[in-house]
């Protein structure tokens, strides 16, 4: 259930004056801020993505003619490769993250003592608050090409500089980021499942795995789907993780945008990639809210 709508005790019937003018005055600073440094820049970005780019310039000219050229470039194989890489690693990390987060969340809610529960939730919140950069660097230090695990990797015959391993490393970075978020999201889902259903199945003779597979998992399915999509939206817009762990060998959409800005100053093209990325995020997110609404309808 959404925390915004869940716990609203009976609405007061008092004739609260709530003059609309006051509400508007309170909203004004926020709206001004939102419009000035968020909505307008995004509209400007949309416009920039339609401007013609002359190589060698920094950005487009103010009166550059409008064109769809920048978007045509998105149909090339190299862009498709980046898109595929982004989605492949994001989906893999989100899926593994979900598989690991579900039992963890289940144990936190149903198995752990209050003290263990507090410790676990504390750890997870700490991980969420902990700098992404620190976590990425820590992974690089532990598993990176010159990291602590290097002798072990070489002994296993894995080259730490091979593209395959770097992909795994970026995936691990995403997983490290996504797992705590998934677990914390799933806590509520599992809390809402009646534990007696599972107990009943087991007392009627079902082994635990069958009871969970038949009862807990299906009941948690909508929550699982939305946790997966939340993880996906996070992963596909990740920037630091592929930049630090990918070392230029593995590029995400976000890194492409940055390169268009820093290396070639082709802002119109960067803007077009940005708009494409924005659309992709919105699609994944609307799937998430769809899953959420279906969950709401069922419970």
């Amino acid at each position: 259930m959404s925390a915004l709508t869940a716990a609203r005790p009976q609405e007061p019937a008092i004739p609260s004056p709530a003059p609309a003018r006051m509400t508007f005055i309170l909203l004004a600073p926020g709206l001004l801020l939102l419009f000035g440094i968020f909505v307008l820049p995004l509209l400007g970005l949309g416009l920039e993505s339609l401007r013609q780019y002359v190589p060698g310039r920094v950005g487009s000219a103010i009166d550059a003619p409008l064109t769809l050229e920048n978007y045509r470039e998105l149909a090339t194989a190299s862009f498709a490769g980046v898109l595929y890489e982004t989605f492949k690693l994001s989906a893999a990390a989100s899926l593994v993250g979900l598989l690991a987060a579900f039992p963890l969340a289940y144990c936190i809610v149903r198995r752990f003592s209050p003290r263990q529960r507090a410790a676990c939730i504390g750890l997870l919140v700490m991980l969420v608050l902990l700098s992404m950069l620190v976590r990425t660097y820590a992974l690089e230090l532990a598993f990176g090409s010159v990291g602590i695990a290097r002798p072990l990797l070489l002994a296993l015959g894995i080259s730490p500089t091979s593209r395959g391993y770097i992909e795994v490393l970026v995936g691990a970075g995403l997983l490290h980021a996504v797992m705590p978020i998934c677990t914390l999201t799933l806590l509520g889902t599992i809390q809402n499942i009646d534990p007696r259903l599972c107990d009943a199945a087991q007392s009627l003779g079902a082994p635990a795995w069958k009871a969970h597979l038949g009862i807990t998992v299906p009941l948690a399915l909508p929550g699982l789907v939305s946790a997966f999509l939340i993880a996906m939206t996070f992963a596909i817009s990740a920037f630091v993780i592929p930049m630090v762990l990918g070392k230029g060998r593995v590029l995400f959409l976000s890194n492409t945008i940055y390169t268009r800005f820093s290396d070639v100053a082709n802002y119109p093209s960067g803007a077009a990639v940005s708009i494409a990325m924005l659309v992709i995020s919105l699609v994944v997110l609307s799937l998430a809210s769809l899953a959420h609404r279906r969950k709401g309808a069922r419970s």
Binding site: L27, G44, E48, P207, I230, S254
Partner: protein, 277 residues
Amino acid sequence: MNGTMKRLSDRILGGAMVAMLGLVLAFLVTPLLVTCLLAFDSRSFLGPLPPPALSLRWFEKLASLDYVATGLATSLKIAVLATAIDVLVGTTAAVALDRGDFRGRGLLMAAFLSPLIVPAVVIGLALLLFLSRIGVVDGFTRLLCGHVVITLPYVVRTVLASLAGRDRRLTEAALVLGATEREAFWTITLPLIRSGMVTGAVFAFAVSLDDVAVSMFLTDPSTYTLPVALVSSMRASFDLSIAAAAVLLMAVTAVLIIVLERFVGFDRLLGQGLFRS
């Protein structure tokens, strides 16, 4: 299925579960422990664990790096300022959104939370283009704008959640007993939503202090944040003074966690709407 088989399968499942949880926790924590250990390593190269002797040499080196001091100062200034703006503007907006059902309320709420769903890189590029078109080229102003945009939703969301979760009858009681609306707000509502404000502020501060994706676009040669400086040096060389910086940032997080636990408590934190699906 007979009883012994069932018990056996239950035990296998239980064992597999414990093993998996151990693996998960190890994956989450080990890299951080390795970083902490290596930050105190006395060797000048990256050698196998454990370090033969501990020292503070990397912290000393970190302290001697000019770009770290500059970056840290900028980062802290931006994070504090952005958080202050967020709490002021975000709380006001959330209180307004909570006042009764007016038309377009849902839309406005979505609008205030929408910076969360736009990828940070997109916000960074958009702001850079926009601000340079209108003539803002000062790095500090640009960074502040970017950080306010990406952190404001946290405060709006947590304050909205605590407004929704509060007992409205307390305000009614105050009004019935003769308080004006203004008095009721300052003495009843504001203390009730304080935990939401603290949670929002802590998250806003942490996000601001960590941001790379937006800041990379908005820095100028003399104004950059600590994470941007660290990322550049991370790509340039492999130096354990970054591990020392990581330890310091972990300490900052620990302080934030203590603040959260003290003022909010982890149990209530989950009700603040940050981890809802």
